[in-house]
Symmetry: C2
Subunit: 205 residues, 2 copies
Amino acid sequence: MPPTTIPDIVIGRLPVYLRALTQFEISGNKVTSSHEMGEHLGISSAQIRKDLLHFGEFGKQGTGYNISYLKEQLEVILRVNQEWDVALVGAGGLGNAIVNYSGFRGRGFRIAVVFDNNPAKIGQKIDDLIVLSADQIKTKISKMRIRIAMVAVPSGQAQSVTNKLVEAGIESILNYAPTSLTVPSKVRIHHIDPVVGLQHMTYYM
Amino acid sequence: MPPTTIPDIVIGRLPVYLRALTQFEISGNKVTSSHEMGEHLGISSAQIRKDLLHFGEFGKQGTGYNISYLKEQLEVILRVNQEWDVALVGAGGLGNAIVNYSGFRGRGFRIAVVFDNNPAKIGQKIDDLIVLSADQIKTKISKMRIRIAMVAVPSGQAQSVTNKLVEAGIESILNYAPTSLTVPSKVRIHHIDPVVGLQHMTYYM
DNA sequence: AAAGTAATGTTAAGAAAGTGACAATACTTA
DNA sequence: TAAGTATTGTCACTTTCTTAACATTACTTT
């Protein structure tokens, strides 16, 4: 199954399926169906079946999907059957919240290092991690072989920080700054902007 | 131009266009083009023109788009030419970061009230706001006529909090908990889950 | 054991979204 | 002023995505 042929929009739904399966598992269920998942997520059952079929046959006709098995398979597909070290730039309020956020662990990610350019922040501890100077981004990330980073600095600094990260060899960036960023095409980027979601909804109000 | 006929996916891109225009404006530009915007956002110029044309003719042939004019128009379309009061449930690390986040102001939103169910948190001040008991969600939201809420509580409590919000008359919810939520069809919901973005990217790594 | 029920895997049709091309228009330069 | 350049508004085409339908398979009940 060559990954190149699978639409990106399908890949984007897999983490949502994975999250739903975790919920079902916590509820004590062993088996689910495309219908149940679709109901829960507001997606048609046909779409879920078709999406999964891009990667193999994970269900049993007449029965449905074994939750823990399908979960494992999705974790392998999404490469989160391992834990990725992630670098965080920005140790302000948002950065602190990100480090203390418990939702990364157990879903494939671990904040391994934090940078900031504010001398008052450097050297301070955030939950086990000592904040390093932004000057060390390149050396530290190279040395630690970190491939994923999060940007949680003010908009004005986001592009220059991103440039440093790219230079350091980062391949994927999660950007919390409310600004678009320019990166080489080989670097993947995702944006977390709550206002985009809010404005999308106010259109309908 | 009847709003009902405009695809939701188009609406979803408007906040991104608006954000880009703000960036251009900060850079001191007065005029932009669909080509420049597309370049900046990684979207084709034809798509941007087509999206905007759903709402009217905002550009001038040969010249491009006046940034401040197009910005104003998008703000009107998205209903953010006003400031919406937003209720926040959850005064933990994430809730604190949300209240202190400066990115809502100036983009149409203001955190107007904060709730938590932890007695240790109730009565505490977060940046001008006093944390109220979650028991007051219904009365307070009704009284203040708040229509938008954010959920920043642990996954296990997210659904019950959401139910309360819906009962209080909330129309749009921004959910920070890493879980899907069930709401009546009249209620709009958006999810902020950083792990979904990360897992989307690790697929390609 | 047979009939009934449930759910997948799979295909084809339909719907939606995106792209390319170009006439019309505005500005710029010689 | 005339020619050249830039860029929108717009349409038709192409590609992509979604949905509906159903044969096949597995389980459940009588």
